[in-house]
């Protein structure tokens, strides 16, 4: 029987994977993938908590909003990455060094 705990463990693993991807990868696209993992972890949390702890519909609605906003954010982020790629011909985060004090 799958309980709340197993969902929470999976979402925590997803979150940690996302954070590791953000910190360790140097490719901007990979960082954005890590970001999606974090958002999906929180959507999973909302659904799991609603399913096992209370019957209010708030959690489901919140997870729908997370999905929509994640899509919008990914679209804008990829557009900006595309601009950056057309100008610099790289998607490596270490090459973004024009702006420094």
């Amino acid at each position: 029987m799958m309980g709340l705990a197993s969902y929470l463990i999976i979402s925590t693993i997803l979150f940690i994977c996302g954070v590791i991807a953000i910190l360790a990868r140097k490719n901007i696209i990979a960082i954005l993938l890590g970001l999606e993992l974090i958002l999906n972890a929180s959507a999973l949390n909302f659904v799991a908590y609603t399913r096992f702890l209370n019957n209010s519909i708030d959690g489901h609605i919140f997870s729908l909003f997370i999905i929509v906003i994640a899509a919008a954010e990914a679209a804008v982020a990829l557009a900006i990455v595309l601009r950056f790629y057309q100008i610099r011909e790289t998607v490596h985060i270490d090459d973004a060094t024009q702006l420094q004090g």
Binding site: S11, F15, G18, I22, I28, I31, L32, L35, I38, L39, A41, S42, A43, N45, F46, Y49, L53, N54, S56, D58, G59, I61, F62, F65, I66, I69, A72, E73, V76, A77, A79, I80, V81, R83, F84, I87, R88, I93, A96, Q98, L99, Q100, G101
Partner: protein
């Protein structure tokens, strides 16, 4: 139920007006973007729409506070005042965007559209009353800001600013929503009103989940106001973006973030003395101290005025945070007064910097040489604003800082006040550096600066009048703010 819902709408008229303006502008832009007539129509409709929204907001000041849309949005004097400041800031910033050469002429309409979109998010955030509206507000604010930072499409600095903003912002809001998910799990609700009675007695297991969750939640809000552990993006994004966009970032997102942070702190962590309260306030105090120190100290070494103003706005956010930490009504009104003066000081400083930078192509301190002799009025106005940002009497900045320090001393936060005072003294150096260049260095050239026509000079002077006026006749406004019950919890 249905009738109540419609009655709610009448309180939401300002936002509806801004949204309709946005939609109308999109149609106008799509239809007439090529013609000169369309440009005039565009900016006419925009001005009328925003001014009507301002009037509706002023009318909302008088109505009794209410919580509408099944407690998702709250209309109280505090949120209404913040919204007035944000709408006014947007209006002036769009005017600056129209005048400035830093935004290409085919992008001016887009700049206005994005700015109004961000404004909608900011207004939602200022009156958010549950976790969902908070999250949507933060995201609406952020997603459009990313695009605004990249507005100079072919400039590599601007695209780099966009990249940095989108990565930092995305991670911060991801952390925030992860924190919210666990807060929801523990309390079983996303409504602020239903959460705050439960926060007083918690089991230790709940506490173990909640303390990290609230810290995650704070990451999302803290990055919007650029307070210190999460400020890394701010100087780079401010420098890479076009100047009117920087002006906008220094005003609207910062005020909206400060408003929601203040609301969350006031509602959840009121006067009780629980572990949650102590840890949240402890985090805020450390962050406020670090923000004041880092913001003001890093500004010293900057060569560009724009970057100096970016660090200075971080430092100013630190002073506002000091007012948030106080957590009482005096603190709230002090923060509001600070926001009012901050709006005018920031607008004037950025207007002048923007016109100077347009002329010479960069905004290093040397470009201000001799400005005080070539344009005496502008020189004096800039000097007034710089003194006011430092906090020298008799200008408004002094009164604003005085109110914050007064509120903090009332709550015995002596260390923080000491740090605030010392960093104000440090900030004197880099603010006065601008004045030194304007009045004590010979001019580099005698060419006219195109931006300083009579209309613009008049507008800048008019914006600086409140800085002087509020510095001397401040007691009326402050008593008005103190005596109105700003916060409303329902």
């Amino acid at each position: 139920m249905n009738i109540n819902y419609l009655a709610n709408l009448s309180l939401y008229i300002p936002e509806i007006m801004v949204i309709f303006t946005l939609v109308g502008l999109l149609f106008i832009e799509a239809t007439y973007s090529e013609e000169e007539k369309g440009r005039k129509l565009f900016f006419g409709v925009m001005t009328v729409g925003l001014v009507l929204a301002l009037l509706a907001l002023v009318k909302n000041l008088g109505v009794p506070p209410a919580s509408i849309f099944t407690n998702a949005v709250i209309i109280d004097p505090f949120s209404t005042i913040v919204k007035i400041l944000m709408v006014a800031g947007t209006l002036f910033t769009i005017y600056l965007g129209q005048q400035s050469r830093d935004i290409y002429s085919n992008m001016k309409a887009e700049f206005a559209l994005m700015a109004i979109g961000v404004l909608v998010g900011g207004m939602l955030l200022a009156s958010a009353n549950n976790m969902l509206t908070t999250y949507i507000g933060v995201e609406t604010l952020s997603i459009l800001s990313y695009v605004m930072a990249t507005l100079k499409k072919n400039d590599d600095r601007s695209s780099e600013a966009g990249i940095k903003y989108v990565l930092y912002g995305g991670v911060a809001s991801g952390m925030m929503v992860f924190g919210i998910s666990h807060i929801f799990g523990v309390f079983g609700s996303i409504q602020f009103v239903e959460i705050y009675p439960l926060i007083k007695d918690l089991s230790s297991l709940q506490m173990a989940i909640l303390i990290p969750s609230f810290i995650f939640f704070f990451v999302g809000l803290g990055y919007k106001i650029a307070c210190v552990p999460f400020h890394m993006w701010a100087p780079d994004v401010y420098e890479g973006s076009p100047l009117p966009v920087t002006t906008f970032f220094a005003i609207v997102p910062k005020m909206a973030g400060m408003a929601i942070l203040l609301r969350v702190t006031m509602i959840f962590f009121g006067p009780e003395n629980t572990v949650m309260h102590v840890s949240w306030v402890g985090v805020l105090q450390v962050v406020a101290a670090l923000t004041m120190i880092v913001g003001n100290v890093s500004a010293i070494a900057q060569k560009s005025v724009k970057r100096m103003l970016a660090y200075s706005s971080i430092g100013q956010a630190g002073f506002m945070l000091l007012g948030v930490v106080v957590i009482d009504d005096i603190g709230v009104s002090a923060v509001l007064f600070y926001m009012i003066t901050y709006l005018f000081m920031t607008l004037v400083a950025f207007f002048i910097t923007s016109f100077v930078a347009d002329k010479y192509g960069n905004d290093h301190f040397e470009r201000f040489s001799g400005l005080g002799f070539r344009y005496p009025l502008m020189g004096v106005v800039m000097a007034v604003v710089m003194f006011s940002l430092t906090g020298v009497p008799p200008f408004a900045g002094f009164i604003a800082k005085f109110n914050i320090f007064y509120a903090a001393i009332n709550q015995k936060l002596y260390t923080l006040v000491l740090i605030g005072g010392l960093t104000s003294v440090i900030s004197f150096y880099f603010y006065v550096k601008v004045i030194r260049f304007m009045f004590f260095t010979p001019a580099e050239s005698e060419e006219k600066i195109g931006g300083f026509g009579y209309i613009n000079q008049g507008l800048i002077t008019a914006l600086a009048v409140p800085v002087l006026f509020l510095g001397i006749f401040w007691s009326g406004l402050i008593t008005k703010i103190v005596h109105s019950k700003l916060f409303f919890v329902q």
